[in-house]
């Protein structure tokens, strides 16, 4: 049996899955946690990768590997390949003023025109400005900027401090498309935007084509055999889309740490309304995406406040009627990106003695979480990206309440694929392509959820709640 490994260095953990090249079936896996902070020493991600490799039983029998990772998050490298300072994660809200500054300086629409991105605090270019303003010494020492998967790929190829060939830094279109200094039209970087944000130019990873090989693994890496092919890798959403076999007309709702809605598109989009980010996918197409900061962790908070398990939270939610008797949750617990409300916090509205019950609260948590996601489908439609099917993935997709209530909130058919680590699976497909020159044809089993009548009151309640709290969408985007 030939084996390939897919690695997902996500926000919270690093996962390594070893799969059978012929079928894609997982053979074994390992996981290691990442630090919970939002500004992190990147060495923690390398250490976690090595730990996850060890927990996966090592990769000595693996023929190829590839890395996927959290998008946007930069690693600032000095001329000798050293990390010059800790990295602000994509979800670190400390860079909000820097996003505002960049928008003020060039104009919000100019960023959209050139990069397809309504600039958010998550984008790499915003983090460059953060570095310039908040860590000026580190900014001066920064010679190269890589994204997490780029840097981990580089390390796996044996590069790093002491062997710092920055020219060997590579990336892919999907990762480049989340930086805020790449054009979907030309497929090239916009170096002037890097210079504008950082105050000087920086070396950027070479952008590989979808089926290119990044290189081969380097020597002396614990658990990783030397000389096996390393795939091009990608951002996490692009990897999942690849693994799901996303076709035009399909949209994905991913409920993980963040909530993400994306669809495959043959062309880049420019959403001057300010919601849709025009990313690229791992096949050569585009992957317009809308994202929220708050998603699956809303359920953690709901369960913690109710003192129950996730299964009980789901059961409670399904005991309540649609609309939770009016109880309405706006789940901006960590601030929010879509809509742009970095300083907002969660709000529970319309609480009364009669509706302030455990089932209603549980339902309000689920409805609030989903209302934010469903609103993002409208943003895609506004860009003429019109999904005909919704694929629900992510940790929260296993919740019966999430599944059932989602079908009451959208008029699309909803399908849930078999439980799998789709990001690591996509990475493993890239590893396979590095070995064979083509993506493998691994099957994906989907369950079609029973359709339900649309409960329009849920969306109405949330729109009314947002209006009442002064959170009208678009009112503050990019400011």
């Amino acid at each position: 049996m030939t084996l390939v490994a897919g690695i997902d260095s996500s926000t919270q953990t690093c996962k390594v899955t070893v799969r059978d090249l012929a079928t894609g079936v997982p053979v074994r896996e390992g996981k290691a946690s990442h630090p919970p902070q939002t500004v992190v020493d990147p060495e923690a991600w390398w250490d976690a990768l090595l730990t996850a490799v060890r927990r996966a039983g090592g990769l000595d029998d693996v023929a190829a590997l590839s890395v996927s990772g959290q998008q946007h998050t930069p690693i600032f490298l000095g001329p000798d390949g050293e990390v010059v300072c800790d990295s602000p994660l994509w979800n670190d809200t400390g860079s909000h003023p820097h996003m505002v500054a960049l928008n003020d300086e060039l104009g919000r629409d100019e960023w959209i025109r050139r990069t397809g991105l309504p600039l958010t605090l998550s984008d790499t270019v915003t983090k460059l400005r953060w570095l310039r303003d908040e860590r000026p010494d580190s900014a001066r020492r920064t010679a190269a900027v890589a994204i997490v998967h780029d840097w981990l790929t580089w390390r796996l190829m044996g590069f790093g401090p002491g062997n710092a060939d920055l020219d060997e830094l590579v990336t892919d279109r999907s990762e480049a498309s989340g930086t805020g200094y790449w054009s979907g039209e030309t497929g090239e970087y916009c170096p002037d935007l890097v210079e504008h944000a950082l105050g000087h130019g920086a070396h950027l990873p070479r952008i590989l084509k979808p089926l290119e090989r990044a290189g081969v693994t380097g020597p002396g890496i614990p658990g990783v055999p030397e000389g096996i092919p390393v795939g091009v890798g990608s951002g996490d959403n692009a990897a999942a889309a690849l693994a799901l076999g996303l076709a035009e007309g399909d949209a994905v709702l991913s409920l993980g740490t963040s909530g993400v809605v994306y669809a495959r598109s043959a062309r880049p989009v420019h959403d001057y309304a300010g919601y849709v980010c025009s990313y690229a996918d791992a096949t050569g197409d585009h992957l317009p995406i809308v994202a929220t900061l708050n998603a699956a962790r809303n359920l953690d908070l709901g369960a913690a406040l109710l003192g129950c398990t996730h299964a009980e939270l789901s059961e409670l939610a399904l005991q309540a009627p649609p609309g939770a008797d009016g109880l309405t949750l706006l789940p901006y617990f960590e601030g929010e990106r879509t809509p742009d409300l970095p300083r907002a916090r969660g709000s529970l509205l319309e609480a009364s003695l009669s509706n302030f019950t455990r089932p209603n609260f549980a339902r309000a948590v689920v409805e609030g979480t989903l209302a934010s996601q469903v609103a993002m489908l409208d943003a895609l439609r506004a860009c003429d990206v019109r999904p005909g099917r919704l694929i629900l993935i992510g940790g929260a997709a296993q919740s019966p309440a999430i599944r059932q209530i989602l079908t009451q909130m959208v008029e699309l058919p909803v399908a849930v694929p078999d439980l799998d680590e789709y990001v690591t699976k996509g990475a493993a497909m890239q590893a396979a392509s590095a070995l064979t020159g083509a993506f493998p044809d691994w099957p994906v089993e989907m369950i079609d959820l029973p359709s339900a009548p649309l409960e329009a009151r849920i969306a109405r309640q949330h729109e009314a709640g947002k209006a009442a709290m002064g959170y009208q969408e678009g009112a503050s985007a990019g400011r």
Binding site: R297, D300, L301, A304, L305, L306, G307, C308, G326, F333, E334, R345, G346, S347, L348, L349, E350, A351, S352, L353, F356, T357, R358, F361, A468, M469, G470
Partner: protein, 481 residues
């Protein structure tokens, strides 16, 4: 005083006590207030209510029962129903917060509303009995001839005595009473098409009526026992607490009441805008100036229900929070801002449809943070309402269940920057009813009060937090209605 059985009909429970001549409770019981839902809203289950009262008296130890000289009844204001001379009902007995009669006063002009306030001392609102009475007459379909409007406490008295009368403090919550004349107002009744004959004679708390022979037999009481309608519960509490002019009586039940006794009513435009309610005191010549916060102790029920806590666990949580608060271990910056309007808003808006809001919830917000925020919100709301009164409180007397909630009390004292005097005696309202039925006076010392002092440092911190939260607080109030 005279040995008395008291009946206190609250929003959530009916409290029954037997008091000795010395004013000490010898026996007590508490039952959920029996209510039903009808086609229009919430009404009393009078069969169940009278059953609860009758069984309580019947079940008293015979030796104690034989000592009883008085039955004194108090309860929530603003409830009521139409009762015929034979004591049959011509309408349901409607709960205080039921707004089924709202349409009858909705079309009142600004001038009409102003006039109602000038005459009755009450801001036009469907809580008060007048609109309910108009609804009841309309729905009696001609079968209300001879029926009269009685509050639920007055109904119980009629059931015991066979006689219908209205007590002045309860009458002053109907919005049909000419406050200064102490008589039913033909002018105001006429605004909703009613005649003053719908309302019974007024009889002060000091004047009772002998129980009917049938009730005496059923209850096992001596035939000379007299029944007194002591009055509106918050006003009866003022008697129980020996409240004087200039003192704030803060009575805490399911709702929270703020009450001042005054030599004259406040009928000016400012008082009307603030929706402060004037009324008649249960004893003496004083007027009352009153505001009710609809969600007082009801917040406990809301928190308990939502968080799935038993009463004991919630109480333990509150005790721990109190301890941490005293030790300076509460980080106010992480406390969610809670607008605890779980059953409508207090003055100056008094919107029955207003709802509660919890804002500022982060991923690290805990159940304890929400509980603390709820009590902090309750004291912010209390201060907002207190600031509406044209009176500086020279003392704050606290009675009711909050007197056992150290966190609530301490937050209130610290936010006001003034000490609270808190009753240790638990049944101040019921003993006030006994005093009224006995024509006796009580003083505050009989409640064995203790002081909850404000702490300067905590007061500064809490007021600074409140000041920082002010814009958001005001915004939430506008959001919630």
């Amino acid at each position: 005083m005279l040995p008395t059985v008291t009946v206190d009909i609250g929003t959530t429970s009916v409290k029954l006590c037997l008091f000795s001549a010395e004013g000490e409770p010898l026996d007590s019981a508490r039952h959920p207030t029996p209510t039903l839902k009808d086609e229009w809203g919430d009404v009393y289950d009078l069969g169940a209510l009278t059953g609860v009262v009758l069984r309580y008296v019947q079940d008293l130890e015979p030796g104690l029962r034989a000592t009883v000289k008085r039955l004194a009844i108090t309860g929530v204001g603003e409830s009521g129903g139409l009762v015929r001379e034979d004591l049959s009902l011509a309408s349901p007995m409607i709960l205080w917060h039921d707004h089924r009669g709202a349409d009858h006063i909705a079309s009142l002009s600004e001038a009409g509303r102003r006039r109602v306030y000038e005459v009755t001392g009450l801001p036009v609102n469907a809580n008060y009995g007048l609109s309910k009475a108009a609804w009841a007459v309309e729905h009696a379909d001609g079968a209300a001839d001879g029926a009269q409007w009685l509050n639920v406490a007055e109904y119980l008295a009629a059931w015991m005595t066979g006689r219908r009368w209205s007590e002045p403090s309860l009458a002053s919550r109907t919005m049909a009473l000419d406050l200064r004349r102490g008589a039913w107002s033909a002018e105001v009744c006429g605004l909703v098409g009613l005649d003053t004959s719908l309302f019974p004679e007024l009889r002060p708390a000091s004047e009772g009526s002998t129980i009917s022979p049938g009730f005496a037999t059923d209850a096992g009481l001596a035939p000379d026992v007299r029944v007194h309608v002591a009055g509106h519960d918050h006003m009866v509490g003022a008697v129980g607490a020996g409240t004087g002019r200039g003192e704030l009586l803060n009575s805490t039940g399911t709702t929270e009441g703020l009450l001042f006794l005054r030599a004259a009513p406040s009928l000016d435009v400012d008082a009307e805008k603030s929706k402060l309610a004037n009324g008649l005191a249960c004893a003496g010549e004083d007027f009352t100036l009153f505001a009710s916060i609809p969600t007082g102790g009801a917040a406990f029920a809301a928190l308990q229900g939502m968080l799935g806590l038993t009463a004991d666990r919630l109480a333990a949580c509150i005790d721990q929070l109190h301890e941490r608060y005293l030790l300076g271990q509460i980080d106010l910056t992480r406390i969610p801002l809670v607008l605890p309007q779980f059953r409508g808003s207090p003055p100056p808006t008094k919107h029955a449809s207003a709802r509660g809001v919890i804002s500022g919830i982060g991923t690290d917000t805990s159940m304890e943070d929400i509980v603390f925020g709820c009590f902090a919100g309750m004291v912010l709301q209390f201060r907002d309402v207190l600031e509406l009164f044209p009176v500086d409180a020279k003392a704050v007397k606290v009675i009711g269940p909050a007197s056992r909630n150290e966190l609530w009390l301490q937050l209130k004292a610290d936010l006001l920057g003034a000490p609270l005097s808190v009753s240790h005696f638990p049944e101040v309202v019921s003993r006030g009813a006994q005093a009224l039925a006995s024509q006796a006076r009580l003083d505050w010392e009989a409640c064995r009060p203790r002081e909850v002092p404000a702490d300067d440092r905590r007061a500064d911190d809490l007021n600074q937090w409140a000041a920082e939260m002010r814009p958001q607080w005001d915004s939430l109030k506008s959001v919630a209605g």
